[in-house]
Amino acid sequence: MTTLTHSETRKSEKPMETDTAAKNAGRSKARRRTASIWIGRVVLAVMVVGGWQWFTEEGWVDKFFFGQPSEIWNSLIKLFTVGTAFGTIWENLWVTAQEAFLGFLLGTLVGVVLGILLGSNKYLSAVVGPYIRIVNSIPRIVLGSIFIVAFGLGVFPKILLAAVLVFFVVFFNAFQGVREVDQNLVANVRVLGASPFQVAMHVTIPSAMTWIIASLHTAFGFAIIGALVAEVLGAQQGIGLIISQAQGTFDPNTVFACMVIIAIVTLLAESLISLLEHKLLKWRPPNRSEAQSI
């Protein structure tokens, strides 16, 4: 987005007197397009949420099982005003966010380091590669049970599960990123006298960065999933615990309310990652980020 507006301002810096009219026409056309996009978005949201409300109101869909938007809203308000059986919603949210964030950091760190290491060493990757693929194909979410048995109901097993889920996403991207490094660039700096460390710093890591950062968007989603699932499996606090308790009392509205909360947290984290992406990858041609924003 930033890059886009950038190029727009640059264009408008050198105005041509003759085509001001054409430019104004273009501007208003762009404005109309943006407006129609937003109208479409609002209509879509109203249709989905309103339809849901209407169908449950009329009884075509049972609101006992599927909840109802107005009831979800009430649950949300209740969560924030009254709180839960396990403390205020803020405390629980803080626990879950902490687990997800720490798991995200741990998984990313290990994934990047191992990905770059294996990506730049052919022998190592040939030896370890098949095992990584095997571990990747087992349902890792089940590891959550083992972690909880081994490490108890505290925060640590949640961090671990989140980290495991994050690790594979980041690892494969880092690995691939290192593999895709332009060998001409490597040859170029080696001829100029770069040490292996300098090759890594100047070529391999910056080049793999595109891939790693692209994986972070998905990775944060996985961190949240890991933390929530581990909490559902057994916890003393956290959004996952609220969800599993609401499930036990046949309260779909609270489950949906928790989903809304988590969605907002994930969107916030996403936008932070996007910010980081624009900062680190500002060298990229703008048309790519334009395609991404769709």
Binding site: L185, A187, N188, V191, L192, G193, A194, H202, R284
Partner: protein, 285 residues
């Protein structure tokens, strides 16, 4: 061996007598395919480039021209034979070498200035000096004012200029060029050739220049080497006695001596090209 010893002081404009000659003797390079077969890329190449000489290698596609360069730079080790640069056998990365590729090997994540600064930075030059030197080189290749741009914001010709500045900033003893202008349009190519000649005449490194373009080879070089198709070996060596400085490469093409030499060399090259073409088209059928 200390890498820094053999670099000439960066930025010094003396016509270096220490431009190193290249002496390739009986060089063969075999590769192992993943299936375990050996593939001979070049066989028994013997080639001499005098210090400060501009030498072109011309040959059909896949005749091991790039392989030869890789041996000279020390990026790869010869299977048989030896490469000497400045009288010293190449082991590991050769000192004082710069490489220029067909694809401009610029760092897309570094600004123009950052790209040109790479050479001195890797040699441990302090940042301020490196910046000053890079700015000077950008001026010399006509890119003053473009320091902060990223490579994707430049045209193909401008990117080539950046690559040229980045290759020459360390004042190399040897400049290896692997079809550097192959991907450019004809007009830009001619401009870049003139630029290269101008800069080369100031610095006089020894140049090994790979190209498909015979006109380019004759217009730029002191010596043209024809290679046979795979496995590559030296077929003929021609000395080009066109006077220096050559001036405009587009005009030199019409001179009688140029046409004479060009026709002469083409006779030698023609067979190889036909043979290589017959083989590839036969393999494809």
């Amino acid at each position: 061996m200390d890498a820094k010893n053999h670099h000439r002081p960066p930025g010094s404009l003396e016509r270096a007598e220490d431009a190193a000659g290249i002496d390739i003797v009986g060089l063969s390079k075999r590769y192992l395919t993943p299936k375990g077969e050996t593939f001979t890329a070049i066989r028994d190449v013997t080639l001499k480039v005098e210090p400060g000489q501009f030498c072109s290698i011309v040959g059909p596609t896949g005749c091991g021209k790039s392989t030869t360069l890789a041996q000279v730079s020390g990026l790869e080790k010869p299977s048989v034979g030896s490469v000497k640069v400045g009288g010293q056998t190449v082991e590991g990365i050769t000192n004082g070498v710069s490489y220029m590729f067909q694809a401009d090997a610029l760092f897309p994540w570094k600004s123009v200035l950052g790209n040109v600064m790479m050479g001195p930075t890797l040699l441990g030059t302090p940042k301020r000096e490196a910046t000053a030197l890079a700015m000077d080189w950008l001026r010399r290749v006509g890119l003053a004012g473009f320091e902060d741009r990223y490579p994707h914001q430049l045209s193909g010709g401008m990117r080539k200029r950046v690559a040229m500045a980045a290759a020459l900033i360390n004042n190399p003893r040897i400049l290896l060029m692997d079809e550097p202008f192959g991907a450019l349009d004809v007009q830009t190519k001619a401009i870049m050739q003139n630029e290269l000649l101008k800069l080369w005449e100031e610095l006089r490194p020894s140049v090994l220049f790979i190209t498909h373009d015979l006109d380019e080879a004759v217009a730029l070089s002191d010596r043209v080497v024809i290679m046979t198709s795979s496995p590559g070996s030296v077929k003929d060596v021609f000395d080009i006695d066109l006077p220096r400085p050559r001036g405009n490469v587009q005009e030199i093409r019409h001179e009688e001596r140029f046409l004479e030499l060009q026709g002469h060399i083409w006779e030698s090259l023609k067979d190889e090209v036909t043979r290589a073409y017959a083989r590839t088209s036969g393999a494809a059928a």
